[in-house]
Symmetry: C2
DNA sequence: CCACTTTCATTAGCACACTAATGATAAGTG
DNA sequence: CACTTATCATTAGTGTGCTAATGAAAGTGG
């Protein structure tokens, strides 16, 4: 039976811990990423690289961002010359997003950075713990 | 030895999974919280309630927000009538933050909400997995 | 083919979350 | 005491991340 006098400890709550872990990850990301990119910009580039061509809507779903958020991210990546948008001839509502030459050339380095970032973020854990953490995180997604 | 041809799967990276888990948690939070509050506002109230009186700087450290972020959070909580600031007589730089009557009366409900939010967020996991996840998250904080 | 619905994208607005710069006050040291 | 350093708070700027409102284009059913 549950104890009605359990104190509430913020530091034991998932939400708070997720925020703290995200904060640390962001710092590691920032220190290790080659270009001046944020984690969401990074994820967006990865998704575009995987698909070659996507609509903005599709891209938002693939990178787990809502349409208003992905728009800003794509705009900034266009400003950096890493993404480009062209009109879809068969559907005038759509704009097709793809990597520029510069974006494409950057990808190999980004993948390498990505491995390093994940590695450092998980460094406090043993190999087996790392697998467990990833598996559990996937379950609460 | 590490395999140089490992593909990079975004969905297996800690940073990405942390973002997804945080997203789901936010939605649950929003649906369950009594007052119109965000997770950071919630954490801030909890910390003030624990300390009774804190400077804004202290509060930022306690709630894991930088000083610029906590300022905005405190401003919004003041606007909602849940926090108040008074001058520190012994140190003119400081403003002392405390709960208003309305804020104090809200706390009991917020603790209850907090338990429910954590519970629902962790619902996909068994009890033992929940403990493991929290322990592992603490290690990468 | 015309109305209804859905999809796609844009815009405005709010709330974090950080950096960097500024200014005021306090504390420590020669 | 005067100088330096540290602390506290504010402000401006950038980048997520969401909702809600708008409008254009595409699809669907009577």
């Amino acid at each position: 039976m549950s104890n009605s006098v359990d104190p509430y400890h913020l530091e034991d709550q998932v939400g708070y811990l997720l925020r703290l872990a995200s904060q640390r990850h962001s710092i590691i990301f920032q220190n290790r990423i080659s270009k001046d990119l944020t984690p969401t910009q990074f994820a967006t580039l990865i998704r575009v690289a995987e698909k070659k061509e996507v609509s903005q809507n599709q891209l938002g779903r693939l990178a787990a961002m809502d349409i208003a958020t992905i728009k800003g991210v794509v705009d900034r990546l266009k400003a950096k010359g890493l993404l480009q948008a062209t009109a879809d001839p068969g559907d005038k509502r759509r704009s097709i997003i793809s990597l520029t030459e510069a974006g494409a050339q950057l990808m190999e380095q980004l993948y390498a950075d990505g491995f390093g970032i994940s590695h450092e973020t998980l460094a406090p854990l043993k190999k087996s713990e790392q697998k467990t953490l990833l598996a559990l995180l996937k379950k609460i997604t």
